[in-house]
Amino acid sequence: MSVVVTARELGLLRCHACGAIYRLPSQDDCCHCRRCGVRLHLRKYNALTRAWALLIAAAMLYLPANLIPIMKTSTLLEQRSDTILSGVVALWQQGSPEIAVIVFVASIVVPLAKIAVLALLLVTAQRRSAWRQAERARLYRFIEFIGYWSMLDVFVVALLVGLVHFRGLAEVQPGGGAVAFAAVVVLTMLASKSFDPRLIWDSEPSRQGRQPS
């Protein structure tokens, strides 16, 4: 790792919007990008506080999202309401284990993993930990990449509500759980966007003032 020199050490700064590179002015966070006009900053503004706030909100909504039904089905034979988990179980029993696994991963594993990983990243970044930085960086990019797949169940509900309305025969109604669940997904997406992955690496002893070799 000794070969890596950071922009901060060289007194350089990269515009996060257009990639233009500037020499760092005497004060941090002072200027706007000449090319694209955004406010320049060395690290995202208030990254940890914002990410924590959004993550806590997401974690709180996670309970209603899983306990309140996301849809109600009524047919001639039966009436049932499904939460996210009971929907997965129903798919499994109905004889489509592959699809049940896809929905289980997208709706249960991904949101939980995302909340846990973000909490881990935030705690370690706050402590300026040097523990497994490359793996943490990879984890961050991974949750950024998979996060929105959790929207799967929300779209399924919308589709079924739109498709199944055979008067008297069969109908599907959406439940409040779908709203809470959609909110969880959006909030975790915003939380991971607020986090600044460069904070993972800021633990390394600053070599500021030394000449890069």
Binding site: T6, A17, I21, C36, T75, L91, M151, V157, L159, L163
Partner: protein
């Protein structure tokens, strides 16, 4: 200007000297593994073709039903908009709005804004409002979820397959094509477009 030859990793702030890459090559950060940049040649024709194709299949995807269902002698089909409006009427407005945004409004806006930027650049000019439009594209990018919807159609079909006869509609193929084209669209290097526009502006100023 030696400064222009540097590249700074977005994810960990490491600094590298930029090297030219062969077509299709990608440079990765040695420390954190994030992608740094791709081959810099910007192929405006290919980008335009993808954006225009995307616009066409987006219209098809939205105008035609994605699933057709038969139950007890009656037929029903569902377009994306049927699903959105039914969800809205059923009282879960936020879900309907989210679906409309992430499956229609944002992908459409992204494609139109790309066309707005690419067409003038193709003929050598920088369009008015280039800066805000590029910022808008950057912010819209992560919020289109067409590929998730595609899997959602599959899951819905499996859920209903036990009780009824299901056929895929034209809209479903539209969404499949749209997924591919939007994925290609997100592979475009926005920074290369900024650089290209800066070059064009400099040329105009010199002329």
């Amino acid at each position: 200007m030696a400064r222009l030859r540097l590249i700074i990793c977005e994810c960990c702030d490491a600094v590298y000297a930029r090297r030219d890459l062969a077509p299709g090559q990608t440079a990765h950060c040695r420390r954190c593994g994030a992608e740094l940049y791709r081959n810099r040649r910007v192929d405006l024709d290919a980008m335009l073709a993808i954006a225009l194709g995307g616009l066409i299949v987006l219209v098809i995807a939205n105008a035609y039903p994605v699933l057709i269902m038969e139950l007890g002698g009656t037929r029903a089909d569902v377009t994306l908009w049927d699903a959105i409006l039914a969800t809205f009427d059923a009282g879960v407005g936020p879900v309907a709005v989210l679906a409309a945004l992430s499956l229609f409004v944002l992908p459409l806006t992204q494609i139109l804004l790309f066309l707005y930027v690419l067409l003038p650049l193709r003929v050598g000019a920088v369009p008015a409002g280039f800066v805000p439009v590029m910022h808008a594209i950057r912010h819209l990018r992560p919020w289109s979820m067409v590929e998730v919807f595609l899997v959602g159609v599959l899951v819905s079909a499996v859920k209903l397959a036990a009780e009824s006869q299901l056929t895929p509609g034209v809209g479903l193929w539209g969404f499949a094509a749209l997924t591919i084209l939007l994925t290609l669209l997100t592979l475009f290097d926005l920074q290369a477009l900024w650089d290209l526009a800066a070059e064009r502006a400099a040329q105009e100023a010199a002329a």
